[in-house]
């Protein structure tokens, strides 16, 4: 009898631990929401979402988040421009061409790219890639969106590549054999049969990569600068949402001040954006799995 009660207690304890993950999500939402609501008590939400000047640390304060949003967008787009074509190409190669031996060597090495700490990428962008680019683009500032964008592309390449490869490998053999039987080459099979068949899985991979790029912090905090400008010019210093949070956190901003609350408001926007992208990505992946299982 007591044995059974013990079993019940253990199950309840394990369940509580599983619930801790839901608690984490709830904690994130509550912490962000409380400070964000306080923030919008003092700053109009319209100004926040439509203003093109972000100067909360200056004497004349403006709270328009668009410069940070645009900075984040510019860097992320550059990262995706680098990572999507290269990631897709390597995924096609690894899934459709590479002999098993090559796959087994190349895949773990690609994974290393994803495991390098982001502060290391930041160092690489600032001290190697930016000076290198400046030799070709004399107008490039020491801090800019281009160099961290390119390096971030390198960082998310393995994510695009390995998730797309998984999607392509899940495409049934029969589709490929059908294309070969019609006389198609491997390239034609890959581009005209496998990629379209794996499209939703590949899209899910790209969306997840975009979410990772938007939330990436250290590369941009180190190499993109701290100047929130409303510009799409990738050659000048800008500031992203994440870099702004780092900038304020490094200073000693007392709790309860408006400056302190700005990082939660920006964090809330960041969380909502990545959350939407993550949901979209897992929805697409689930749909893709249903198609072929």
């Amino acid at each position: 009898m007591s044995l059974r009660r013990g079993e019940r207690a253990i199950e309840a304890l394990l369940f509580l631990c599983a619930l801790a993950s839901v608690g984490t999500t709830a904690g994130i939402i509550v912490v962000l929401a409380v400070e964000t609501f306080a923030f919008f008590g003092e700053v109009s939400i319209v100004e926040f979402l439509t203003g093109t000047e972000w100067t909360p640390l200056f004497a004349t304060k403006h709270f328009g988040v668009l410069p940070l949003l645009l900075g984040t967008t510019v860097v992320s787009v550059i990262a995706l421009v680098v990572a999507v074509p290269t990631g897709l190409l390597s995924a096609i190669y690894l899934s459709e061409y590479a002999p098993e031996r090559v796959r087994r060597v190349v895949k773990p090495v690609l994974e290393i790219l994803a495991g390098v700490p982001t502060v290391v990428y930041g160092y690489f962008a600032l001290t190697f890639v930016t000076p290198l680019l400046q030799q070709w683009l004399p107008g490039l500032s020491g801090f800019n969106a281009l160099s961290p964008g390119i390096v971030m592309g390198l960082m998310i390449l393995p994510l695009v590549s390995s998730l797309s490869e998984d999607a392509m490998r899940a495409v049934p053999r029969g589709l490929r054999e059908g294309a070969y039987a019609l006389g198609a080459t491997r390239m034609q099979t890959a581009l005209q049969v496998v990629v379209p068949a794996a499209f939703s899985g590949i899209t899910a991979a790209v969306i997840l990569a975009a979410s990772r790029a938007i939330g990436e912090t250290m590369i941009v905090a180190i190499a993109a600068g701290q100047q929130p400008r409303f510009t799409a010019n990738p050659f000048v210093p800008i500031e992203t949402m994440t870099a702004y949070i780092v900038q304020v956190s490094l200073g000693d901003t007392p709790q309860g001040t408006l400056e302190y609350r700005t990082i939660f408001a920006v964090g809330m926007l960041l969380f909502l954006m990545t959350f939407a992208l993550n949901l979209l990505s897992s929805w697409l992946r689930a749909r893709f799995r249903e198609e072929y299982n």
């Binding site: 599983a18 801790a20 993950s21 904690g27 495991g115 982001t118 160092y123 190697f128 180190i222």
Partner: protein, 292 residues
């Protein structure tokens, strides 16, 4: 799906295109892997000269030549040990529930979806959570404990996902054999299933920790300091970690500090390499054992 070959697609032309495509893909892969080599090479070139016993055993300093990284190494190890102590039991317990008890209930599936989403939340958001929850509400201050608790939440999804995978590889015949001998569910899990999953669980834990040890943003957000002239000596100490010290040095304009940053990166990479080597050895043993 229609495969259009085009009216003029000669067989030789198509084969040439196929080869060209393969070559382009190989070049792209080579460039990506080459970039990794250049990255490591750059860091080595800048930092190898600074890497000596003095650097490893000294505290930070205004003068780049006499600055060291001892405090940050101790800080990183301290934080990671505490992170493991928190993330391992909770993560394994959660995974055990989902894999062995939860079944296909709607709640279990909701928790699963939630964990998958948490794994993709930017790490800096965890920093804001840690700042609001641990540092302020629970009044832990900017302590080692607050930092480790934040990183534990960050590591939890990875620990849970890899533990579930490890539990899934334990054959059900083991469970059935145990039940047949009269063991209860928990006795079966505790004495049979979990021990068999240990190498897989440890591999996942180490991978989660090696991600956590490289994290900078969440610890900056909770207010880990960038200048700490001492090593932490309790869970309530103020602290810094390797990535934050590296970030601090990178942000300074003087070139000498950039070299310190490179040397710090070498230390961090060496630490990561060691952890991953342990994980690979464990996985190797695990795979050999798993085979009947």
């Amino acid at each position: 799906m229609a495969v259009s070959l085009g009216p003029n697609a000669s067989s030789a032309g198509r084969r040439r295109a196929d080869l060209l495509f393969q070559a382009v893909a190989l070049v792209v892969l080579a460039v990506a892997l080459g970039a990794l080599a250049v990255l490591v090479g750059t860091v080595w070139r800048d930092g190898a000269n600074r890497l000596d016993w003095q650097f490893l055993t000294s505290f930070p300093s205004r003068r780049a030549e006499s600055a060291g990284i001892y405090h940050a190494i101790v800080g990183s190890l301290y934080v990671i040990a505490l992170t493991a102590a928190m993330a391992l039991p909770v993560g394994v317990a959660a995974a055990t529930y989902l894999e062995e008890y939860g079944g296909r209930s709607r709640l279990a599936r909701f928790i699963e979806l939630n964990i998958a989403n948490l794994a993709a939340v930017p790490s800096i958001i965890y920093g804001l959570l840690g700042l609001g929850l641990f540092v302020r509400t629970m009044a832990m201050g900017r302590s080692v404990l607050a930092g480790a608790a934040t990183l534990a939440l960050l590591a939890l999804p990875v620990v849970i996902l890899s533990t579930r995978e490890a539990l899934r590889t334990v054959p059900s015949s083991i469970r059935e054999g145990s039940y047949a001998l009269g063991a209860t569910k928990w006795q079966t899990i505790w004495h049979q299933v979990l021990p068999m999953a240990v190498p897989g669980i440890l591999t996942g834990l180490i991978l989660a920790l090696s991600r956590a040890i490289g994290e900078t943003a969440p610890l900056i957000t909770i207010g880990a300091l960038t200048y700490i002239p001492f090593a932490p000596d309790s869970i309530w100490s103020a602290f810094t970690v390797l990535p934050i010290q590296i970030f601090n040095w990178v942000s300074r304009p003087q070139a000498a500090f950039k070299d310190n940053a490179a040397a710090g990166i070498l230390v961090l990479l060496a630490l990561l390499l060691t952890m991953n080597a342990i994980a690979i050895v464990l996985r190797d043993r695990y795979q050999r054992k798993g085979r009947p």
